[in-house]
Amino acid sequence: MNARDVLDLAWLIPVLPLAGAALLFCFGRRLGEPAAGWVATGALAGAFALSVACLVALVGLEGPERSHLVRGHDWIGIGGFRSGVGFLVDPLSITWALLVTGVGSLIHLYAVGYMHGDARYGRFFATFNLFAAAMLVLVLADNFLLAFVGWEGVGLCSYLLIGHWSERPRAATAGVKAFVTNRVGDAGFLVAMFLIFGALGSLDYAVMREGAAQLPAETATAVALALFLACMGKSAQILLHLWLPDAMEGPTPVSALIHAATMVTAGVYLVCRAHPFFDRHAAAGDVVALVGALTALLAGTAALVQVDVKRVLAYSTISQLGYMFLAAGVGAYAAAVFFVVVHALYKAALFLGAGTVIHATGDTQDLRLMGGLRRYLPLTAAGFVASWLALVGVPPLSGFWAKDEVLAKALFAGEPLVFGIGLAAVFTTGLYLTREALLVFFGNERFRRPAGVPAPAHDPTVSPTVDYGTPPGPPPLDGDPHEPGPVMTLPVLVLGVGAVVGGLLNLPFRRLEVLTHWLEPAFEGVEEITAPSFAAAAAVSVVSVTVAALALALAWRLYRRGLPEVSVDPLDVRLGPLGRCFGHAWYYDEAVTAFVGGPARRAAERLDRAVDAGGIDRAVGAVAAGVVRAGAAMRALQSGFLRRYALGVLAGTVALLGYAILRAGAG
């Protein structure tokens, strides 16, 4: 088999998890636990093996040849519009495919243990596999329309999985919020496709690569901004970010895979894939970079004082996604992809670690009721700590290299404002995650219930999410927490190791920029951003590490001993009113909720009552009443006339038909 024969099999990468999903939707309940979980994990692991094979095959080809199209059948075609099912295997798509299948398999494995005892075990894995399939369609598609299929597919699975525990009102509402917010972005995607088709006559990437450069600037910018609206929804950028914290209502493996490692990076993928629309037109790129930088900073501040272990990570994800767009916006696409890859490793490890902690402390998500867990969960703690240090940018862990490269590129691309905001965000990153790590694994033990205090009643319809501002409940445990089995510790450790060594993928030295060189064919024609001198690059590193170190030191000082008094958070106290503002995430969600539930709702109600029932119906009613009055009394019409009319029409028609049949027979 030569390389192209292997690449021809790329269509199997999404089809394997799709088949797994189909199987599990039909027989998931019968397969039960844990078989359903293993089927799903196996299907995705198979897709991972295939992705690796495709990677090897691509590597075997010459640089510029590293692109392979697998064509399927036409999907929608009418008039001048044609679009098909086809897969494009190139360095960019296969990088994402490896990420989705690799990290995805580990998280599936983890879920086999995590979902133990769940009433809808089979359906969970069916949807989980369906998500993987949709995500793979999204990244492997060879045209925008098929990518949109994947794009909507992951949105659907996100909705279903957030609402997995649909008996919890919070979870059910959060799913709707996620889908609806994403729909705003999807409308942008649709408009972008209309614009592209109108301008180029096709939605194929190949046509875009040839044609985008010739487009007038305003068309290209319009396409870019419409696409970016889609990305803002899917990747939870500021203004459209408000669904992601609520998405934490889903089971923790869902948060890890969908709402941290893969789906939310789809927006970054889309910008990278559609880079010809962004490249030559500074306006669109500036918007992307600025929105990204602001997202990084504002979400970072919102993460500072959250008390829910998953909410901190959720705002952290939003903030980190901001960095990715910051990079993509300034044209440093390879740096963005690098950031996506390492972020997937350490953020997945953090979420899985958090999931283990939540299980171990009896479904508690309150940071204030944890502490000192490293003694009881040593393996999980190891993975979590490695990922924490990687994320805050401690050299030489993966996050350091990725963040450093993003900031350096922003500065050397001539965007000092964006660089400055990004640097400020580094400080928040160091602070919020160190706070979380210390509160969970170090300091005093706050989870033990004193003897005599009754266990809190467990209500399956109440979400364990803890909002900022709610007082801490009673301590949850009367015994020691326990480390789970290897099914759940192994993925955390593997991802933790990845978080440590992930930087090797792209060290910023000429010959060691493996990922950048690998991605070069995908970003053909993009101007390379280079540092003016080695000293300048080193200076950026020193500055960013110093900022991170300051934040680390501050958090260490505040939380070294945990929380001596459970209800007093030292950082929150020191921030004062600003802390409340951060805790409520700048009150944006509250404002939107108040608007939708208030003026918007009242306006809609008025439309229903005044216009529909009051206006139109009354006008029509008046006309009808006039007609009726002119003719006969209403009652007569109802009881007698109508039936007679009906019978008359009926009789006439039957006669006509009979005549027709007779004539037909005669003729």
């Binding site: 008996e167 408009v191 096709s202 009808a624």
Partner: protein, 526 residues
């Protein structure tokens, strides 16, 4: 096979079936039902045969039968189908069979119910097949009678009011339609010298002078706009839906309202091309208003059936949008939506009917937590919901996407405004799903049973078909395309308008694949 008058048979079988029920003794409900099943199954079989024999790549009418009934009156029996009507006939036949299965729960006067139900089927198929304007009108009017009796006889509390509203609305529209048809026929006779109501002859004629044509166009449009319904003539729909029995709602939303948009497509474009082009901006505006308004008002309803009724108003807005984009893409998308909407909305009404039988209420607030106790029922509703709000891979997306694309190509800003409708549609539908199916099971909901086999038999075929058309719309689009292309070409020739460049089919420039072409996925290699 070619000599067999399949269309006449398709129309006649339900009428004969209805007649047959008259011989069934009053108390033998199961016998009346047996006649019903036999008739609808036979009709569906004939419709299947029709679709099977329908030739792709032909834009004109097929299976045409023509018999002159009266030269002096100019009335003929002309039936035929093209890419617009062939699938509507098929979907009608399917919905009537499934609707009868869903009507198993109707125990009151089953004989009369079956009689009116079959009569309704015959008239609707007649509407979709008639190419003579007079016989079209006869079927169009006749349809009201069984529908009125079904609503008034088997509906819920305010059924009399609803039936009357339905009747008054549509009958008023029909008066305009009849006047316009007669005027057109006589103007044609004055010009050409022969009285005929043959659509093909009238379409081939140059038509009345533009001023008159505009009035006649308006006459047709009023009738069709009421039926479709196009905003602001939609207010009968929510009332009628709420009061109609389940099968009535399925048929009403599924096929009866399609008669309106079908009429526009069949008559307005061919008979009055100039007026259609002139009216396009107005109609597009009404379509956009309908899309946005329908979804917003849907979100405010407390009755589940009303939510779906208003979302139907929005969906029909997408159809009208596609039609008046006057592009092949848009008209094709609109026709496809007319096919997909019966499947999705039909399923939604069926599930609402099932919920009603369990709870004896349609109020959203009387439910809550259905997902926990009846996962299959919930699954069916969710699939239908997502098919309706245009999730790719299900049938709703194809039509919606093409309608919007067509509108965007023709009138950019209308297309953009209508695209906002996809957001609002998700809001109204998913918010209802949240309230009815999410949360802890409330009160009587806790004892709900899940989908029964009989219930599954009604919705699963519709959802499976929706999935199939979403994944593999090509067989249908290929059969719609030539007819749509013919309509748009005629419009272009007759009015001299210039359609957007991207609408024209051209040699598709898809670059040569680097690799060979393997057989992917769904194995379609025809």
């Amino acid at each position: 096979m070619s000599d067999f008058p399949v269309l006449s048979a398709l129309i006649a079988v339900p009428f004969l079936g209805a007649a047959a029920t008259l011989w069934v003794p009053e108390q033998r409900a199961e016998a009346a039902r047996a006649v019903g099943y036999l008739t609808t199954t036979l009709t569906l079989g004939l419709a299947g045969l029709l679709v099977w024999d329908f030739r792709a790549g032909v834009g004109g009418f097929q299976f045409v039968e023509e018999h002159r009934l009266s030269s002096t009156l100019g009335v003929s029996w002309i039936v035929g189908v093209d890419g617009y009507s062939v699938f509507l006939v098929a979907v009608t036949a399917l919905l009537f069979l499934l609707g009868l299965v869903a009507s198993e729960t109707v125990t009151d006067r089953a004989k009369a119910y079956t009689f009116w139900f079959l009569l309704l089927e015959g008239t609707i198929i007649g509407v979709f097949c008639s190419l003579d304007l007079i016989s079209f009108f006869v079927f169009w009017e006749l349809m009201l009678v069984p529908m009125w009796f079904l609503i008034a006889g088997w509906g819920s509390a305010a059924r009399r009011y609803a039936a009357m509203k339905f009747f008054l609305y549509t009958a008023t529209g029909s008066a305009f339609l009849l006047a316009a048809i007669l005027a057109l026929g006589f103007l044609h006779r004055a010009d050409v010298g022969e009285l005929t109501f043959d659509l093909r002859a009238l379409a081939a004629w140059d038509g009345p002078p533009p001023g008159t044509a505009r009035w006649l166009f308006a006459g047709f449009m009023v009738a069709f706009a009421v039926k479709a319904p196009i905003w602001p003539l939609h207010t009968w729909l929510p009332d009628v839906h709420t009061e109609a029995p389940t099968a009535g709602s399925v048929i009403l939303a599924g096929v009866i309202i399609k008669m309106g948009t079908y009429g526009i497509l069949r008559f307005c474009f061919d008979l009055f091309p100039g007026a259609a082009v002139d009216a396009a901006p107005i109609m597009l505006t009404l379509a956009v208003v309908g899309i946005l308004y329908g979804s917003v008002v849907a979100a405010m309803q407390r009755d589940a059936k009303r939510v779906i009724a208003y979302s139907s108003v929005a969906h029909m807005g997408f159809v009208v949008l596609g039609l008046f984009s006057l592009t092949v893409i848009g008209v094709g998308g609109a026709t496809f939506t007319m096919l997909s909407h019966p499947l999705t909305t039909g399923s939604l009404f069926l599930v609402i009917g099932m919920l009603y039988e369990r709870r004896h209420s349609r109020l959203i607030d009387d439910f809550g937590g259905v997902a926990t106790v009846a996962p299959l029922l919930t699954g069916a509703f969710l699939v239908a919901t997502f098919a309706g709000i245009g999730l790719p891979g299900l049938s709703g997306f194809v039509g919606e996407f093409l309608s919007l694309l067509g509108a965007f190509l023709a009138h950019r800003w209308w297309g953009v405004a209508a695209t906002a409708g996809v957001i609002l549609a998700a809001v109204s539908m998913l918010w209802m799903v949240r309230r009815m199916f999410g949360g802890p099971p409330r009160g009587p909901v806790a004892s709900f049973t899940d989908l029964s086999w009989r219930e599954a038999a009604t919705v699963v075929p519709l959802l499976a078909l929706s999935l199939f058309l979403g994944v593999h719309p090509r067989p249908v689009l290929q059969r719609i395309e030539p007819t749509a292309a013919r309509t748009i070409e005629r419009l272009t020739e007759r009015t001299g308008r210039r359609p957007p460049a991207a609408d024209r089919a051209r040699a598709h420039h898809r670059p040569a694949a680097a690799g060979r072409v393997p057989a992917v996925g769904h194995g379609d290699r025809r």
